[in-house]
């Protein structure tokens, strides 16, 4: 597919839903709720680990207006996973809607449904629970072999072996090794190593978790939910509620942000079971506290990284040992763990040996889940920090070490099973980034007086584009009776704009204005299957499916046009909203074509259809550069400038891509400098509001400059790769590097707080 004279693709089209959501039209889940819906509230465990001996509902049930109260006795006994993953999920079936054992502070104990919120809360306070308190596993470094077993239940199961050792609190274990790492290290001129602790991070999307449920005119369960994964939610609910999935419809309206949080099921089951038990509509909305403390976060990890290089600075061996904290449930334990190496090791392919080993462990804390970056973020922090350390030891410029070692087009990498890299402009990204940040003048540091010093740092990163051989999506486009088009997709726009870019692609192929396409998505009753918006999939996977479906339909329209014009197929061409002869002497409008074909004698609804999954997951890249100012008296770090140069292949919509990049970088800045999910000694989350958990505000992000260095990915739609996740990864290592260059304090435990920098300077 060549990039010539594109009319829609490559242009900064406004989002098709942009104006409505910007001015507050009622298009989000809560806006759609019927006024008679029952309000669902959840009684949660105050203990990190406990067994429920008894629950006394007598006083609560007597409250006027209470419709139902459910406990572990009222839910199906079949265990399930909330992971938003294609079936069969590589996730332990370790949950019940309500369980007799509670595994973290905030775990669900009872579901209360009442006529309004006040009544539900009043009833909730009248429930008496008798717990047998158990010794919790709170330190993830102590989880393996702890005397407490987080999941003692025998009926926990897995679809296949993910290295789960339940009695050892290991949810998943992983090992990948090519070559002999130990031998290779012996041959290296320089070997550096360190231990890193990237922290748990909260998604903090502005719209909290919520679902609204009711029974439709045929008695089927309808679930309107703010989710990234409608089809996975349908499957989860069928298993959790033990009803046929044909009896469930999941619809996704507009979503107020997801960032991976809404790739894990959350609130849906609680509203759904109330509707099934009462027959009444129900709404469950998590407040901010529940969103912080009763959903998921990024996996906190410990990573031991060792990198060896020869005298020229060529990296010969990499070893990563990972310990990941999956918390109380194991939804994304296995996959996030494997992605740590998957999305870091292929950066450097001059290696002779690489090894990654790791465990994801159960603890009695809020579960970890999917979060933009998905293991790559943690792995990038650890590996890139180590490579920066290596560069210093070798007395080489860190950008030069990257340029010498990165994978080039046409090359393979050790763990890549021979798959060739078909597109990368990472070398150009690095060069451009150096220019934009002023690397030559600023590296490594400069004193600016008043005890302040400025310095720069850098890191590179990659991600995937969809999940190879697993993420498969279908798209249907039809010509309507009025000559317009309907595009049916299962991709879920959570604000990032996939409804718009898929429409752009279809319009480009069909050579029609975007306004003539009606985009319908996110409804399991009408959408073709799509796994959902995660794993940086929509542009690359759903985009390719859209292109193929549009090409299919275009061919059918031309065939029909030729037939109606009485000429052969090679004598016609598209002409906007018409088909004409190449000679230009005859033309039929799509309106007329549709009338004659669909309404009338033609008896043929023209439909284009495609199912697409990729055998590869081409990596997008970012080179990130940070300039910081550190106060040597207080340790305060101020971010002055952040430059990110992005290779996402062809940029489908420059504005939306830039916004993805700037937003991802801001989240990365938050992770680097401000954010941390913290627990007290009893396992209760201490950071459950925006008062304690600081996300960056507009004064905290400095200036962020994003530039694109396009490459052309031959397997992607119009040459595109992904962008959604890769942009979140560079700030922690690049900022840590800049801080080190400023004051020689190497912060390995995120976030980089003034205290850590201050005490680091004291030790010198």
């Amino acid at each position: 597919m060549k990039k010539i004279d594109l009319k829609c693709v490559g242009h900064s089209m406004r989002k098709i839903d942009g104006m409505a959501i910007a001015i507050g039209k009622p298009v989000y889940t809560e806006d759609l709720v019927m006024s008679n819906a029952l309000v669902v509230k959840i009684l949660r465990s105050p203990h990190a680990f406990a067994k429920i001996n008894s629950i006394d509902l007598s006083r609560a049930e007597g409250v006027e207006g209470v419709e139902c109260i459910l406990t572990y006795k009222d839910v199906p006994a079949e265990r399930f996973t909330l992971a938003g993953q294609s079936y069969p999920e590589p996730s332990p079936y370790d949950r019940l809607i309500l369980d007799k054992i509670v595994r973290y502070v905030g775990d669900e104990v009872a579901i209360i449904a009442a006529v309004d919120e006040k009544t539900a809360l009043m009833a909730m306070r009248k429930i008496k629970v008798d717990y047998e308190i158990l010794e919790p596993v709170l330190d993830f470094e102590q989880a393996v072999g702890h005397s407490s077993v987080v999941h003692p239940e025998e009926n926990l199961s897995c679809n296949f072996d993910i290295g789960l050792y339940r009695e050892k609190n290991i949810a998943s274990s992983f090992k990948e090794e090519v070559g002999d790492v130990e031998e290779e290290f012996k041959r290296c001129y320089e070997v550096v190593e360190d231990v890193y602790y990237p922290q748990a991070q909260a998604h903090a999307m502005m719209e909290t978790y919520r679902a609204y449920t009711y029974l439709d005119h045929t008695g089927r369960l309808v679930v309107v939910t703010s989710t990234q994964i409608p089809f996975h939610i349908r499957r989860q609910l069928a298993r959790a509620l033990q009803i046929p999935s044909s009896k469930i419809r999941v619809m996704k309206p507009r979503i107020g942000g997801g960032f991976g949080g809404k790739q894990t099921g959350a609130v849906e089951g609680f509203a759904a079971i109330v509707t099934l038990k009462t027959g009444k509509p129900a709404i469950s909305i998590y407040d901010r506290k529940e969103t912080f403390s009763c959903t998921t976060s990024r996996h906190a990890m410990r990573l031991k990284v060792k990198v060896g290089a020869d005298q020229e600075g060529i990296i010969r061996a990499i070893d990563m040992q990972v310990l990941s904290d999956t918390g109380a449930y194991g939804e994304h334990a296995a996959t996030v763990l494997s992605c740590v190496g998957h999305y870091t090791l292929p950066l450097y392919n001059k290696t002779s040996a690489v090894r990654i080993t790791g465990n994801a462990v159960y603890t009695n804390k809020m579960p970890a889940g999917a979060f933009r970056g998905y293991g790559a973020t943690q792995g990038t922090f650890a590996l890139e920090s180590t490579v920066n350390k290596l560069a210093e030891r070798l007395n080489m410029d860190p950008t030069e070490v990257r340029l010498k070692n990165i994978s080039k087009e046409g090359e393979t990498f050790l763990t890549g099973q021979g798959v060739q890299l078909r597109s990368t402009s990472l070398n150009r990204c690095i060069q451009k980034g150096k220019e934009l940040i002023g690397w030559k003048e600023k590296f490594p540091r400069c004193e600016i007086g008043q005890n302040k010093v400025r310095a720069v740092g850098m890191a590179i990163t990659m991600q995937g584009s969809g999940i190879a051989n697993i993420g498969t999506t279908s798209v249907e486009i039809r010509l309507n009776d009025d000559g317009n088009f309907t595009l049916l997709s299962g991709a879920t726009d959570m604000g990032h704009g996939c409804d718009t870019i898929l429409t752009q692609m279809a319009a480009e192929i069909l050579e029609i204005p975007m306004d003539n396409i009606i985009f319908v998505a996110g409804d399991t009753d009408t959408s073709p299957y799509d796994p959902g918006s995660y794993a940086s999939s929509t542009t690359y996977v759903a985009g390719t499916a859209t292109v193929k479906a549009a090409e299919d339909l275009k061919k059918k329209i031309l065939e029909q046009g030729a037939k109606l014009l009485g000429v052969s197929l090679d004598e016609v061409e598209p002409n906007g909203l018409a088909v004409r002869t190449v000679k230009g002497d005859q033309e039929i409008s799509l309106v007329k074509l549709a009338e004659l074909t669909i309404l009338g004698a033609g008896k043929l609804q023209l439909t284009g259809y495609a199912t697409h999954g990729s055998e590869i997951s081409p990596p997008p890249y970012v080179a990130g550069f940070a300039e910081v100012e550190v106060d040597q008296e207080t340790g305060k770090v101020e971010l002055i400038d952040y430059v990110a140069v992005v290779d996402c292949g062809t940029v489908i919509n420059p504005n939306l891509a830039r916004m993805q990049a700037e937003g991802g970088i801001a989240q990365g800045i938050g992770m680097a400098l401000y954010e941390e999910v913290k627990y007290n000694d009893l396992g209760k989350m201490a950071t459950n509001s925006f008062m304690q958990y600081k996300i960056p505000c507009r004064k905290d992000v400095g200036k962020v400059h994003v530039a694109f260095e396009e490459s052309f990915e031959p397997t992607g739609p119009f040459g595109a790769k992904s962008i959604g996740e890769v942009v979140a990864n560079t700030p922690p290592p690049a900022i840590a590097h800049a801080v080190y260059n400023a004051v020689r304090v190497r912060v390995t435990r995120l976030p980089i707080t003034p205290e850590k920098v201050f005490f680091g300077m004291q030790k010198q």
């Binding site: 900064s12 406004r14 989002k15 839903d17 942009g18 104006m19 409505a20 959501i21 910007a22 001015i23 507050g24 039209k25 009622p26 989000y28 809560e30 806006d31 998604h203 903090a204 999307m205 502005m206 719209e207 909290t208 507009r254 979503i255 107020g256 942000g257 960032f259 407040d287 901010r288 506290k289 959570m494 604000g495 990032h496 704009g497 919509n653 504005n655 939306l656 830039r658 916004m659 700037e662 937003g663 991802g664 970088i665 801001a666 989240q667 509001s689 925006f690 008062m691 996300i695 960056p696 505000c697 507009r698 004064k699 992000v701 200036k703 962020v704």
Partner: protein
Amino acid sequence: MQIKVTINGKMVTWDVEQDEFLMDTLRSHGLLSVKKACETSCCGLCTVWLEDKPVLSCSILSLRVHGKKITTIEGVPKDAEEFARVLTAEGAEQCGFCSPGFIMNVLAMKNELVNPSEEDIIHYLTGNLCRCTGYMGQLRAVKTYLGVLV
């Protein structure tokens, strides 16, 4: 209890509870642009105007606005759309959930500040959190809208 208020130019009488917050009252009367997101007066999503000044409707008891004038984004559609067109031309609404509150504060700023500098703009809008955009696109949109040199 009853309150009489002028909502978006229209006088209404509403029954409210003693402990009811303005945000909930507004939503319950169909003004669904007003979004709840933090419960701790931190995020700015519920911003409306009380007597033409921006306030957090999550932190004001409905009883307190008796006799007052309240404006939500539904009440200033022309101005809101004018700025929203600039905002969406940048792609800086992203998920859109924080946009109505943000727009109400931008419009208030336009009325309040004369020739604001970039620093003034950032300071005025600091209370409006956004998790999607990283703020740079919003800033570009505001500067374009106000004619501040980009």
